[in-house]
């Protein structure tokens, strides 16, 4: 809402307050002022002049030499190039010494040999916004009304010495979609009086009810519909002051009738509509549209109507979309004589639905949507009728023709002073509270001890509860006056939950190992839910009802494809060595057609690609491989105190020979993760180099995770280490060997590690040699060679029996 301070000062004094100060005060009281627009863009020394004569320039076809009186008693000779300049006009004249916007100084000049003592100005030369000018003023010089006083500064004539405050209204403050509303707000903030505009209407002629009738079909969609009949209007331009105010408010002047309806809407917040009464017909109805009806609206568009839309009809013919836009057929034109002036309260949600459906939003619909003040319906109607009689020489016929349901009632709310102070943490007295409501123009009843009854004006439909009144007190009292305190009562311990602590630990472990945390979008393309289905195989993906694009039309079911897309993004930017992880949710629905909330699983995704080292001297870079990824996963799980098993079961999306699933030792039937090299086919699809990815379901880990450190005493006795190398089948997993070693070595075995795997000339082509390091230790004594040898013997024997392993000497 653009609020002209000049216009505002008609309803409330803002004397002694600069526009900047006012803007600051209003902002601090709850309505943000986005911008202060100075209407004067830098005009000084331009005055109203009278063109006495016009002659053709002797040497230039397109120029005229004008004799202009600017009220100084001395005529000026001004050369003017505008087509529309003519003798007998009142025009803005920039005399020598005047300044125009852009710091353009007017000097004595010679145009094609003829002296020119100034310049006759167009509206845009005066810095006025072209778009807001009446159509006939958009070209050529600005021609002023004949009765404009000679010599008057143009800034005064055009109301340019005005600052316009842009009110950025929150949805609850639609009361300030009017100058009067803005005036009440300003008055409350400054502690001044509101002066309401005159509605001293003189009625004449016959009763309006003889001309028109009004009937509302469904009062829930329109609680009040009122018509005034104004006859014998003369269409013409509206007065300059009205045009100035409309332009300040961002509305383009049209003609006196339209301007008056707009003016009153801006003044009172109540949209009005003027019908050409002779085109409308005498029986005015308010009803829902019927299937198949059409209406051509003021903008010339034919609109197909449906029963959800509310219509105004004349003799049952659609005439206007209630509260949204008028119809072309009943529009006020230059030929209009009689006017049916409408003021009504339409249901906000009905207007909103219609305007959304048709994509038609207007100043009127905007106000109806937010529910207009029921008290303003008649006030605005009368005010507009008064202005029509004054400025369109109409005669207002007797009476209002109307239908309404219910009575207008001001709501009464009881406010408790102790609650107010308890709620705000303040110590405001009853006297101060009463003073604040007086400033707001809210009536107070007598205060009984702690209680005060407040009568809320109908213009403040946003105030329904005592807390709304508390806010009113707080904001007028000043939020700055609210002290800062510490919450009273018992202190509470703050901490991460276990799952949060686990995620925190995972993040720290991975970043300390060189992984960057990525965050990808939760929405993805459907293809991305068809791959890496380890956790989603038994569920369905969740599509959005109205996606913004196909690429983001469904909720992700796995993190891996999104990490792959991140890798692709980086690859295109030549970042090819990547270690990424993401912690985020995936969404799995149990039903094909979603009706209940899907299962949200917290996943950990990892991605590795490119080279390990960046190739500094002495640290040759090498390509990452499966074991880099496996080690990262193991490190994370170790951090959480978890032991897992890797099973080579070729999970979906991965290279079948280079992938595995993860199972917790404590819960071996539940798959908790997958990892591996990306399947070559997918690698091609995503256009990547060798890439390794893992995905773990963190939800499955929380309850087993033991992030606490368990300390063990240091060993007091030395260990004995023995290495053995065995030749086994090429396909035998090292993990199986280790398992048998653990089972067979006895209690003295403390640790076993694979430290080399050899295939090549020195073993058969279907065999490999696996070198194992075994560490033996006894907690309470030094081991003897014999004990160790016995254990080794058992190991070798078990390996021979289980795998036909041959000991390499």
């Amino acid at each position: 809402m653009k609020v002209s301070t000049q216009w505002l000062s008609e309803y409330v004094s803002i004397e002694g307050v600069t526009p900047e100060q006012l803007a600051e005060k209003i902002t601090r009281s709850g309505i943000e002022i986005d911008e202060i627009e100075q209407r004067n863009q830098g005009v000084t020394g331009v005055v109203v002049g009278y063109v006495k004569h016009k002659e053709k320039h002797p040497d230039a076809d397109k120029l005229n030499v004008c004799t202009v009186d600017v009220g100084t008693g001395e005529d000026l000779q001004i050369v003017c190039g505008a087509k529309n300049v003519d003798a007998g006009q009142k025009v803005p004249v920039a005399v020598v010494g005047a300044v125009l916007p852009g710091n353009f100084k007017i000097k004595n000049a010679k145009l094609r040999g003829v002296a020119s003592q100034g310049m006759i100005c167009s509206a845009s030369e005066l810095g006025m916004n072209d778009k807001l000018l009446p159509k006939d003023q958009q070209e050529g010089i600005l021609v002023l009304p004949e009765n404009t006083e000679l010599g008057l500064p143009i800034t005064q004539v055009l109301g340019l010495d005005d600052a316009v405050l842009e009110f950025d209204l929150t949805p609850n403050r639609s009361d300030c979609l009017s100058m009067i509303g803005a005036a009440y707000e300003t008055a409350a903030i400054l502690g001044r009086e509101v002066k309401l505009p005159s509605i001293d209407l003189i009625e004449s002629g016959s009763a309006a009810s003889e001309k028109v009738s009004v009937s509302i079909e469904d009062e829930s969609l329109c609680s009040h519909y009122a018509i005034r009949y104004i006859s014998d209007v003369k269409i013409g331009p509206s007065p300059q002051w009205m045009q100035n105010r409309l332009m300040a408010a961002g509305v383009r002047p049209t003609n006196n009738v339209v301007d008056i309806t707009n003016y009153v809407m801006l003044e009172c917040g109540q949209p009005l509509h003027a019908f050409d009464a002779d085109k409308l017909g005498s029986q005015i109805g308010v009803r829902a549209a019927r299937e198949g009806e059409v209406l051509t609206t003021l903008d010339g568009q034919e609109r197909k109507l449906d029963p959800s839309m509310l219509l105004i009809t004349g003799n049952d013919t659609p005439a206007a979309l209630a509260g949204v836009m008028g119809g072309l057929a009943t529009e006020v034109t230059d030929a209009t004589v009689n006017i049916a002036l409408e003021s009504a309260k339409f249901s906000g949600s009905s207007v909103r639905k219609t305007s959304r459906k048709l994509g038609l939003r207007s100043e009127a619909s905007l106000r109806f949507e937010k529910e207009v003040d029921p008290s303003a319906v008649i006030a605005a109607l009368d005010r507009a009728a008064l202005l029509l009689s004054r400025h369109a020489s109409g005669s207002v016929q007797h009476g209002v023709v109307e239908q309404r349901s219910g009575q207008i009632q001001e709501q009464k709310i009881t406010l408790s002073l102790s609650k107010l102070n308890r709620y705000l943490g303040t110590d405001i007295s009853m006297l101060e509270v009463k003073a604040i409501f007086a400033r707001l123009n809210f009536k107070c009843g007598d205060s009984a001890q702690d209680q005060l009854e407040i009568q809320v004006p109908t213009r403040r439909g946003d105030i329904m509860h005592d807390v709304d009144l508390i806010e009113e007190v707080a904001r007028i009292h000043g939020y700055d006056q609210i002290p800062t305190t510490v919450i009273e009562g018992p202190t509470t311990p703050g901490a991460y939950s276990k799952s949060q602590a686990v995620r925190y630990a995972v993040r720290r472990r991975l970043t300390s190992g060189g992984f960057h945390e990525a965050i990808t979008y939760s929405f993805t393309r459907p293809e991305n839910t068809q791959v890496f289905t380890a956790f989603s195989a038994d569920s369905h993906a969740v599509p959005l009802a109205m996606p913004m694009s196909e690429d983001r039309s469904v909720l992700r079911t796995t993190l891996v494809p999104l990490l792959l897309e991140s890798a692709q993004y980086n690859r295109n930017r030549k970042n090819s060595d990547l270690s990424f992880f993401e912690i985020g949710k995936v969404f799995h629905a149990s039903e094909q057609k979603v009706t209940i909330q899907p299962i949200e699983r917290m996943m950990l995704g990892l991605l590795l690609t490119g080279n390990r080292n960046d190739g500094t001297v002495g640290a040759a870079s090498r390509k990452v491989d499966f074991f880099d990824l496996k080690g990262a996963v193991e490190s994370v799980l170790e951090e959480l105190g978890l032991s897992v098993e890797f099973r080579a079961d070729a999970p979906d999306g991965f290279h079948p020979g280079r992938s595995a699933s993860l199972y917790l030792k404590q819960a071996p039937s539940q798959r908790i993760g997958v990892l591996g090299q990306l399947h070559p086919q997918l690698q091609r699809d995503y256009d990547l180099d060798d890439t390794y990815a893992a995905e773990l379901c963190l939800d499955e880990l929380y309850s087993y995770a033991a992030p606490e450190i368990e300390y063990r005493d240091l060993p007091r006795y030395p260990s004995a280490q023995r290495d053995i190398a065995v030749v086994v089948d090429l396909s035998l997993e090292a993990g199986k060997l280790i398992e048998v070693v653990r089972q067979s070595a006895g209690e003295l075995l403390q640790d076993v590690n694979v430290f080399d795997v050899y295939t090549g000339d020195r073993v058969a082509s279907d065999k490999k040699s696996v070198a194992l390091a075994l560490t033996y230790r006894h907690a309470e004594r030094t081991l003897t060679d014999e004990e160790v040898a016995t254990a080794q013997q058992q190991v070798v024997q078990a390996l021979e029996e289980n795998f036909a392993a041959e000991l390499r000497k």
Partner: protein, 338 residues
């Protein structure tokens, strides 16, 4: 014999004086002092000397041996010193070559900001609450005092899945879920960080997916002044101890009174701090309390919500919100600090 000793001394010392390396030195040592060396050989002839001569010659022989010894060790020391110097010289490295760094990855800047805020509130006795990202219409809107035909609930502004399910547009439904779970117990002191989704065309300052942190406190006698005190403490922790805040009245359907909070903030290159809007807050609306099982006559509370991306953009000077979601390695890498 005396002459032979004298000669030997002169000869040995002369040869030693021009010794070139450790090997030659050792040869000379053996030549003169070894078991078969010249000195030993001469001394073997001592047996033929008279009793008077023997001590005299013996002493002389000792002197000769000591002189040779001294020369040998002096040279040996020199060679060792020279050897060490040579080795050090040959082992000298170019210390200007790059070091091999410990690798460190980055916690995502949005997570960093969230974690920092979590730590501040944990320090103030808050728990971290979480909730689903796919919400029911009831929890996301209705229970927050946005009834069915409220303008803020337009289908166009949210990502609906069904008529009743949508991607949460705010973290406020976690408030509702927490209150439901606490079933009337007080105090409630939580913050809830998380992803939210709104239908917005992506540009430098808008993203259809972003993060919020919601805060909620409910108890007996929770006052608006407590909200102000809490936020002041929070902002001082986050932006520095000289930070100030101010509240401006505002509107949210789920709080009353409502406020926007500005903090003093010095923009890059600015000489003076200005006010910058950072969060919205207010006293929990009695209808919201009531719907989630708290009697508004008995309990009161405050709530606040803060946009994580905006804070992260301010804190790190990031000028385009999309950077947070592109996962460009060159972007993420810059946050690889503890």
């Amino acid at each position: 014999m005396r002459e032979r000793l004298e000669e030997l001394k002169v000869e040995a010392l002369e040869q030693l004086s021009s010794v070139a390396d450790a090997k030659q030195l050792d040869e000379l040592r053996v030549k003169y002092q070894g078991k078969k060396g010249k000195l030993t050989e001469i001394l073997r002839g001592m047996g033929g000397l008279s009793a008077e001569e023997r001590p005299v010659i013996g002493q002389l022989a000792n002197e000769v041996r000591d002189a040779i010894d001294a020369a040998v060790s002096a040279h040996a020391e020199r060679f060792e010193r020279e050897d060490t110097e040579r080795r050090l010289a040959s082992e000298t490295i170019d210390i200007s070559l790059p070091g091999r760094k410990l690798s460190r990855g980055a916690v995502h800047p949005l997570t960093r900001v969230i974690e920092e805020i979590e730590q501040i509130f944990i320090g103030m006795g808050y728990r971290i609450a979480e909730g689903p990202e796919v919400e029911t219409d009831y929890h996301n809107f209705e229970a927050l005092n946005l009834p069915k035909d409220h303008p803020a609930r337009d289908m166009q502004d949210s990502f609906y899945i069904t008529e009743d399910l949508l991607m949460r547009t705010q973290t406020s439904p976690v408030q509702v879920r927490t209150m439901e779970a606490m079933s009337g117990e007080v105090p409630v002191k939580i913050i809830c960080p998380g992803k939210v989704y709104r239908r917005d065309d992506d540009d430098a300052t808008h993203s259809f997916q972003f993060n919020q942190i919601e805060g909620l406190v409910i108890g007996k006698n929770i006052r608006m002044s407590d909200l102000k005190g809490t936020l002041l403490h929070f902002m001082k922790e986050l932006f520095g101890s000289d930070t100030e805040i101010r509240m401006r009245p505002s509107f949210f359907p789920f709080t009353e009174p409502s406020a926007e909070v500005d903090v003093t903030y010095k923009k890059k290159g600015a000489t003076e701090a200005g006010w910058l809007e950072v969060l919205g807050c207010g006293m929990v609306h009695p209808r919201v309390l009531e719907m989630s099982g708290y009697d508004p006559e008995q309990y009161s509370g405050f709530a606040f919500g803060i946009g994580v991306e905006r804070l992260a953009m301010l804190k790190y000077g990031v000028d385009d919100i999309r950077h947070f979601y592109n996962n460009d390695e060159r972007f993420l890498e810059q946050f690889a600090r503890q």
